[in-house]
């Protein structure tokens, strides 16, 4: 998957989990939980769905790399 496809997939997953989040004007560097008010269950669900769709399992130790849309996209794109 190329980064554009990964990003589109993640945006779609976020729209499923937290449809109220508006990413249209986002720079992509916003902290997903702090900035958009997602809770840890939301974050967990998003990562689980990403793992289902891409087979990329993100270990707990790498959570600091996937706190923003850009971080998450890069992380998954490098591995998917």
């Amino acid at each position: 998957m190329n980064p554009q496809q990964v990003r589109a997939l993640i945006v779609d997953i976020i729209a499923d989990v937290a449809p109220e989040v508006d990413l249209s004007d986002a720079s992509g560097d916003e902290h997903l939980q702090d900035h958009y008010g997602l809770d840890s269950m939301d974050a967990l669900t998003i990562l689980e769905k990403i793992a289902e769709e891409t087979d990329v399992d993100i270990p707990e130790t790498d959570y600091d790399q996937v706190e923003s849309l850009n971080g998450l996209t890069n992380y998954v794109a490098q591995r998917a």
């Binding site: 499923d16 937290a18 449809p19 109220e20 809770d39 840890s40 269950m41 669900t45 707990e60 130790t61």
Partner: protein
């Protein structure tokens, strides 16, 4: 699968638990003795905040660290008992300056920041009522609680005020003052900055005298139907907060204690503020949300000795793997406890394997004010059990009618968990719901609404709720509140909400909706409904899953059959459906 009993053996040289023998203390315990452990006000009376800070500040513990705060960006601040006593005095003086009186209430709606703790204590010293709300609530739960509770003062953040409260102010006629904790130069209109309030303003503070039975705390808890219930507690509750910390959490003098619960939920107030402070401990407060590495690092770096957390967090740590725990030095940790929902036996055993300590489950609720049934440092654990009643607490599994209660003596039989009233932190009422309060008491027992069984050794096991309340990540959620919000959307004709089992959160909120004519089921509408509910209720309360169905099952009298929806969801037998509308 059956789990082996975890034996407690005293290691040589160990000073041992604060309660060395459960049965001996259970036999001789008197609440009056527990009251004697506290000072009381110099001129008589009792005040929670005085027991928490002033008595330590006056008795040579003034320089002992009371609150050790870690911010989301890892910044740290430490407050001694002396400092907390002074700052809360100043906040109390500020409230007096604003004309806030004894018996009036301050609501908090902010994350875990130092002003929250200072304000809680200052409010109690002013004889006012402290009512903590969860910061992630959306505008609707906020309006219901703040409006219903007649809050006169709100303590909140700039962002929360702007996003969730400013638009509601016309609907909150009792709300006179809004205090902003993260004040800067640009305070929103009609609000007051926290730092200006507690700066030395020369105002002398004299504590408002309070008696044991004066109202102190208000905790909102969800009901199956109707508005959330405001659970009222009095200053005497501190007697239970104090002693249960010692007995159930094994608090010892120099402990460093971390309760991970947010004060917006009752655990975060009873054990995240009051109990550790009344016991003179150092309590750790982390502003950030759960993160496995961060949590292990805090346990290690802060040298936490007693840790009180929740099953959801423990299950998330289990997911992160035992190896991760092994990367940290957790040797200072002596006791781990969990509350919020039943802790599965795997998690108890995992604690022993990964953290070197078993996890002690305990049980209580907003209405009981403090821990009622617990596993103890000195008592063997049966994984999956919530433990045995605290000394001073009589618990039983019962069957009841509207006016009689019969104790079920047969071990293993299920019934409703009931407690004999008489402990100091039992609630004194539901705000403005006298009838609802009276219905909790039958034949001299308080009926908890939880189903349980007790085994031949007196260990209690949680079975389920007697009502439709949902327990998700330790939070009690009323289906009615969620259904009402969904019904506000024009596409929704009927809504029914259940708790669906979830591997991490215990249960998650799932909604079934029946559409109004002219609306088309589909992914776009599903998303719209979910976003609608999340914006109003916040992520903790809103449904995580929405299913559009043709028809929601109801009884002939029109009552939603949530039980049937749940059985269908789980693929279980549907049970008695004789009252189902259109059913056979």
């Amino acid at each position: 699968m059956t789990y082996e009993r975890i034996r407690k053996e005293k290691s040589p040289g160990d000073t041992g638990p604060i309660m060395p023998d459960y049965e001996a203390l259970y036999g001789e315990f008197q609440w009056g003795d527990a009251r004697q452990m506290l000072d009381g006000l110099p001129d008589g009376g009792l005040n929670i905040a005085f027991e928490c800070v002033d008595r330590h500040a006056k008795s040579g513990r003034a320089d002992h660290p009371a609150l050790r705060w870690i911010g989301t960006g890892d910044e740290r601040r430490e407050y001694t008992y002396g400092e907390l006593a002074e700052l809360s005095d100043r906040f109390g003086a500020a409230l007096q300056g604003l004309g806030v009186k004894k018996g009036e209430s301050l609501f908090s709606l902010c994350g875990r920041v130092p002003p929250l703790y200072i304000a809680a204590l200052g409010t109690l010293k002013n004889g006012s009522i402290f009512c903590p709300l969860f910061a992630a609530f959306g505008p609707e739960p906020i309006r219901q609680r703040l409006g219903g509770g007649g809050g006169k003062v709100l303590l909140t953040t700039h962002r929360i005020y702007r996003q969730k409260v400013a638009g509601l102010r016309d609907e909150l006629p009792d709300l006179e003052h809004v205090i902003i904790v993260d004040d800067g130069d640009d305070l929103p209109e009609d609000t007051i900055g926290f730092s200006g309030l507690v700066e030395r303003n020369g105002r002398e503070f004299s504590m408002e005298p309070t008696e044991s039975e004066d109202l102190a705390l208000l905790h909102f808890t969800s009901g199956t139907t109707g508005a959330p219930k405001g659970v009222m507690h009095v200053h005497e509750a501190v007697v239970a907060h104090h002693i249960t910390g010692k007995i159930a959490l094994d608090f010892q003098d120099d402990d460093i204690f971390w309760c991970t619960a947010d004060p917006g939920w009752v655990t975060g107030t009873s054990y995240g503020i009051i109990s550790p402070l009344s016991n003179g401990l150092t309590m750790v407060v982390d502003q950030a949300e759960f993160n496995a590495e961060r949590w292990y690092r805090i346990l290690q770096d802060e040298e936490v000795t007693v840790w009180y957390t929740a099953p959801t967090a423990i299950r998330m740590l289990m997911k992160a793997g035992a190896e991760l725990a092994g990367d940290y030095d957790l040797s200072r940790l002596r006791f781990i406890a969990s509350v919020g929902e039943p802790l599965n036996p795997e998690a108890v055993v995992w604690g022993q394997e990964a953290l070197g300590l078993p996890i002690h489950d305990n049980w209580w609720q907003s209405e009981t004010g403090g821990i009622m049934i617990s596993n103890y440092a000195s008592m063997d654990i049966k994984p999956g059990s919530m433990g045995r009643p605290l000394p001073g607490v009589q618990a039983a599994v019962v069957e009841h009618t509207d006016d009689t209660v019969e104790i079920i003596e047969e071990p293993g039989e299920e019934g409703e968990l009931a407690l004999r009233p008489g402990w100091p932190s039992i609630f004194r009422g539901y705000l403005d719901m006298e009838e609802r309060y009276r219905r909790c008491f039958v034949d001299g027992w308080y009926l908890t609404g939880d189903m349980a069984r007790v085994d031949e050794d007196g260990y209690f096991f949680f079975v389920g709720r007697t009502d439709d309340l949902i327990k998700s990540a330790g939070h009690l959620i009323g289906p009615f509140e969620v259904e009402s919000t969904l019904l506000e959307h024009e596409a929704v004709a009927q809504a029914a909400v259940i708790g669906k089992p979830h591997p991490t959160a215990g249960e998650m909120v799932k909604a079934f909706v029946e559409l109004s004519t002219g609306f088309e089921a589909g992914r776009a509408l599903q998303r719209e409904l979910k976003g609608f509910a999340r914006t109003r209720l916040g992520p903790a309360v809103a449904p995580r899953e929405i299913e559009i169905v043709d028809e929601i099952p109801r009884t002939r009298s029109g009552k939603i059959m949530r039980r049937l929806l749940k059985a269908r969801e789980l693929g279980e037998p549907e049970g008695d459906i004789s009252t189902l509308e259109g059913g056979q």
